[in-house]
């Protein structure tokens, strides 16, 4: 019993390690090449971005269409650390990993701080109005970054050390999934879902909607910031225009095609739709037509997204899990009103 419980909780970790091993094996056999690995890394960053967007759009029911703005803040924030301040030439090689991690943290914190400041005045807005503000925010960030000369202005930043490899991406995607899952199945996630489903009722049930929306926004911005930091260290070159409205709308497509309000949906959507245009390269110019057509078909036949609200077992926490964690069976305990003392 105890062993199987342990085993169950580390199963996803084993699965992930096995997947990583498999990819590395394919690479050593020459089946997968660096190009494939790079697409996987982009997909990983996109999964994190989609999860971040899912927190705000899918679970809290707000509508952000400027998420690329948070990503760019994270990308620049962390790139400034590793490229300008603690650049590889001034630190010993052994410090590269701590500096990299520090830069990701800084990227996340910068994005989170801005997310908080933006959220404070704007989250009283609803629906379309909030969407317009987030859209404007994304554009302000992009336009602002184009003006700052020390970070390359519109030319962008070159020579960002490529610290991020597939293993790091795997690790951060897994951590993001772990954290987002945990928070969704806590007081915070429940408050978000309550606000999403009926804001008036949520308020009447004592949920401070502004406060929980700000927490959601800040948390989401942090994830986006870290994802942006990873992205910068994958591509080595970032420029403001990478994080335009097109990027934000791509993320929206990943989210809704995969299935909003589902973590599995974010993974499937981002993974599939990042690799699909690459897989379709043999179609040359037709590939974008086919890509768009696939989207139309997906949305027509599965309006709730590809996953249709399905959640992988290790990405949800059921009531049964809560009891099993305590070494209890769900059926035996809570229903008997009189046996309170026993449970």
């Amino acid at each position: 019993m105890k062993f199987s419980k342990r085993f169950k909780s580390i199963l996803p970790v084993i699965g992930l390690a096995a997947l990583y091993g498999l990819i590395m094996l394919l690479k050593s056999m020459g089946i997968a090449n660096n190009y494939h690995i790079q697409i996987l890394m982009f997909a990983g960053v996109n999964i994190m971005m989609t999860l971040s967007l899912n927190v705000v759009n899918g679970f809290t029911g707000q509508f952000s269409i400027g998420h690329a703005g948070f990503m760019s803040l994270g990308a620049y924030g962390s790139a400034i650390i590793t490229t300008l301040i603690l650049k590889p030439s001034v630190i010993p090689a052994s410090m590269e990993i701590p500096v990299f991690l520090l830069s990701l943290l800084v990227g996340g914190l910068v994005a989170a701080m801005v997310g908080y400041l933006i959220g404070l005045p704007t989250l009283k807005l609803k629906g379309d109005y909030l969407a317009i503000v987030t859209l404007a925010f994304g554009e302000i960030v992009r336009a602002g970054l184009r003006l700052i000369e020390p970070i390359g202005a519109a030319r962008g930043m070159i020579g960002v050390p490529n610290y991020a490899n597939l293993a790091w991406i795997f690790l951060f995607v897994a951590l993001t999934l772990f954290f987002v899952r945990n928070i969704i199945y806590s007081r915070f996630g429940r408050a978000w879902i309550a606000i999403r489903d009926n804001e008036i009722a949520a308020e009447a049930m004592g949920i401070d909607s502004t406060r929980y929306k700000i927490i959601s926004f800040t948390f989401s911005a942090f994830i986006a910031g870290v994802a942006g930091g990873l992205y910068a260290h994958v591509v080595s070159f970032i420029q403001p225009d990478t994080f335009s409205f097109v990027k934000s709308s791509d993320l929206l497509v990943f989210l809704y095609a995969g299935g909003s309000g589902s973590l599995t949906g974010s993974i499937v959507g981002a993974l599939l739709l990042t690799s699909l245009p690459e897989a379709l390269r043999f179609l040359a110019s037709w590939r974008l037509v086919i890509y768009a057509l696939v989207l139309v078909i997906v949305m027509l036949y599965s309006p709730k997204g590809i996953t249709g609200g399905y959640e992988l077992p290790f990405l949800r926490i059921t009531r049964k899990d809560i009891y099993e964690n305590r070494g209890k069976k769900i059926s035996e305990t809570p229903l008997q009103e009189t046996k309170e003392g026993d449970v």
């Binding site: 945990n182 007081r187 879902i193 309550a194 009447a204 049930m205 004592g206 305990t333 809570p334």
Partner: protein, 259 residues
């Protein structure tokens, strides 16, 4: 009996329309106060003011010596005013259990970072919360539907769930807005016994709005009658039934000619 809610001269105007005028009431601990009146009399508007959804133009709502006017709805809830809605407002894509857990947000002491890591103490709090919710559901006979999405419940149980959810707030006063609207006779009886149970088990003070006189008369301690935003009568059910103003408001002025 002590006064737990003191409402004085509550007035609200929408543009030129005075929707509710000079509504005053002292609610006693443990009583069941019913607010009745024809459609459009301003009953729900009174509720919306008592729960912070509308801000009254003038007047005061005092609880524990504090004036709540101007606070946000969640603060009204935190002060012990929990309500249900005339048109059901459940969290439709959440399960029955989660709907109730959501009303516990206010009381929960889970912190963000421990929740992020899902520490032992968070797991324990989640477990205790789940048991508490299940006990409550058991009392109200909804435990068999615990894991259903609330939108998949039939209409009657949805209304019931809304009441149970409000109870989870551990309120001082429960405000029920037309709890039996659209229900059949059997369901009405069930809600009546549920309300009786809430009063008996939890010593709950209740304010309710209702149209069904057969439902209100036996359970109300006191009735206030609204018509066109004004209080036209107040008293115990027996007196209200005989009050000519009330009869006129409900049946129109011409009934004398028939009777």
């Amino acid at each position: 009996m002590a006064t737990i809610l003191s409402v004085k001269n509550l007035t609200i105007k929408f543009g030129g329309l005075v929707a509710v005028e000079d509504f005053s009431v002292d609610v006693q601990e443990g009583e069941l106060l019913a607010i009745i009146g024809p459609n459009g009399a301003g009953k729900t508007t009174v509720f919306n003011m008592l729960t912070g959804i509308y801000k009254p133009t003038s007047g005061s709502i005092e609880m524990d010596g504090k004036n709540l006017v101007g606070m946000r709805p969640h603060q009204f809830a935190a002060h012990g005013l929990a309500r249900t809605f005339q048109n059901i407002r459940l969290f439709h894509n959440a399960s029955v259990v989660d709907n109730i857990k959501m009303a516990y947000t206010l009381h929960s002491s889970e912190k963000f970072f421990p929740a992020l890591m899902r520490t032992e103490s968070v797991v324990e709090q989640e477990w205790e919360l789940d048991m508490e919710v299940m006990r409550l559901l058991k009392i109200f006979n909804l435990d068999q539907q615990a894991d259903l999405l609330s939108k998949n419940l039939p209409y009657g149980p949805q209304r019931k769930l809304e009441i149970v959810r409000a109870m989870m707030l551990k309120p001082k006063i429960l405000l029920l807005d037309e709890p039996v609207a659209g229900m059949n006779v059997a369901e009405i009886d069930e809600i009546a016994s549920l309300i009786a149970q809430i009063r008996e088990k939890f010593k709950m003070t209740i304010i309710l709005i209702e149209h069904h006189m057969n439902f209100v008369m036996p359970i109300a301690d006191r009735i206030k009658v609204l018509d066109f935003g004004k209080t036209i009568a107040e008293g115990n059910p027996g007196d209200i039934q005989k009050n000519p103003k009330v009869i006129e408001a409900y049946l129109g002025g011409g009934y004398h000619a028939i009777a």
